[in-house]
Amino acid sequence: MSSLSDLELSRRGLLAAGAASAVVAVGPEAAAQESDTMTPGLPPMPVSFEVNGKVRQLSLDTRTTLLDALREHLHLTGTKKGCDHGQCGACTVLVDGVRINSCLSLAVMHEGDRITTIEGLGTPDRLHPMQAAFVKHDGYQCGYCTPGQICSAVAVLDEIKRGVPSHVSARLTDRPRVTNAEMRERMSGNICRCGAYSNIAEAMAEVAGGKA
């Protein structure tokens, strides 16, 4: 586990350094952009929801998506912004146990909701079984889509368990089974540009207790 933490720290450090220099370079523009987004006469709106077991109270511009609330206001940067249009799945989180695209949802619409992000599923010291399986089966390369993939994968197994049918289920009235075809169909809202799909399916199969 310690080697994983070291790796993570060094990657984070590198990313942080890159971001810091970018901010220095575009300082004036960034400041101008900030003031553009403040609309006079529209006061921020209060909203309260639970994130990873903790109640969080925020006061937000109504335009703030759940994704931006998590990343920019609560600094939970595990959830990623990919396309910001619901097409890639990088922003997938669980709301009341159900997976959604956090980029296509307004934060103020989540009053009282229970939100779980990748940070709430597990920690580097206590990985969620799906996180451990992704590590074991190499279910990623660059890792950018991985938090969304893992949140989605956890929800997919729950959907199969609850009997939600899919496009590839042979008979609508049968209980769906954890097959490779079922997992691939159900994960189609999560794009992996590195193409780690077969390893992701294997990780999911291990957690589900079957073979991909």
Binding site: T62, I100, L104, S105, L106, E111, P165, S188
Partner: protein, 317 residues
């Protein structure tokens, strides 16, 4: 995204009254289509009325043995409902063929009916589009039209309706129940709900300003084999090039509606009389008067072949 104020609706009638009296007000439920369009500033509401709290989220039996589906029942919940899976399989199949798991968890029944076209020229704000900006022209006509309409289009618009669910609703003779600002309710047959573009393509449906969908009802199950065949560029998570929703009885009679070809789910009841004669005869009547372009002429034989596949599958079932 343009700035807007936000409120949670207190009652359906209040929401309808606000939406009809306040310029720039829009309802929001799942938000998966509206927010996407707001980010692109294709939709620019100044006030959002969140209708999720109104409770129209149940599926109930109707007195005549059908189902009343609350407007805000999520697509996943509707597709997974055992009464729908057993009695209206074409609807489950259509829903499951659309979007992704994440989107289906959020998207609502009424929002699915009201989603806007995915015509690339509607999405590109640098291009003229009569649907986005009335009177600005149509860049799709004479443009790249592979995904666009082959029947029912006009000189002003060749967009298609993107929904899979609506095609199944059309074949099932669903009715759309609404309430308006005065508290009056009405039931609109799905056949009349979506409009053809004509010279006002910016108006997608017959809903009056502020009119709120409260439910979609289905008549009692009609039996038969239920099929939804969708042809698309990827095996999953893509809009239809052509889709066929069909309910086919043992004697070969049945109903069929097609998606991906017109501004609304496309059904020609008279064509269904030809079902015992086979797919070619049905497709010929369904697509009578079609005006395909070089880019989308492939949809004409594709409709016939997709229909033939559905009829073959029904015989094998």
């Amino acid at each position: 995204m343009k700035a807007f104020t936000y409120e949670r609706a207190a009652s359906a009638q209040d929401a309808a009254a606000k939406a009809s009296s306040l310029q720039g007000a829009r309802f929001i439920a799942g938000g998966t289509n509206l927010l996407d369009l707001m980010k692109l500033e294709i939709e620019t509401p100044t006030h959002l009325i969140d209708v999720n709290g109104l409770g129209f989220d149940k599926i109930e039996k109707t007195q005549d043995g059908g189902l009343r589906i609350g407007a805000f029942v999520r697509n996943t919940a509707l597709a997974a409902d055992m009464r729908v899976r057993k009695g209206y399989g074409v609807l489950s199949r259509a829903l499951l063929a659309g979007a992704s798991g994440q989107l289906r968890n959020k998207a609502t029944t009424s929002g699915n009916l009201l989603q806007r076209t995915r015509c690339p020229y509607f999405y590109d704000t640098n291009q003229p589009c009569n649907k986005r900006r009335p009177g600005s022209g149509c860049a799709a006509i004479g443009g790249y039209s592979r995904q666009l309409a082959i029947v029912g289009a006009s000189e002003a618009c060749v967009a298609t309706h993107p929904s899979d669910m609506a095609v199944a609703m059309r074949v099932l003779d669903a009715q759309v129940e609404t309430v308006n600002a005065a508290g009056q309710t009405r039931a609109i047959p799905i056949a009349e709900f979506h409009r053809l573009p004509g010279d006002t393509p910016h108006i997608d449906t017959v809903l009056a300003p502020g009119e709120l969908i409260t439910a979609v009802t289905l008549p009692k199950p009609i039996g038969g084999v239920h099929l939804y065949e969708k042809v698309r560029d990827r095996a999953s998570y893509a809009f239809a090039l052509v889709s066929v929703a069909a309910v086919i009885q043992k004697d070969g009679s049945g109903r069929v509606a097609i998606g991906g070809v017109a501004h609304k789910p496309w059904r020609v009841e008279a064509a269904e009389a030809a079902m015992p004669q086979g797919a070619k005869a049905v497709a010929a009547q369904l697509l009578a008067g079609a005006t395909p372009t070089e880019d989308n002429a492939f949809k004409v034989p594709l409709v016939e072949r997709t229909l033939a596949a559905a009829m073959h599958e029904a015989r094998a079932a």
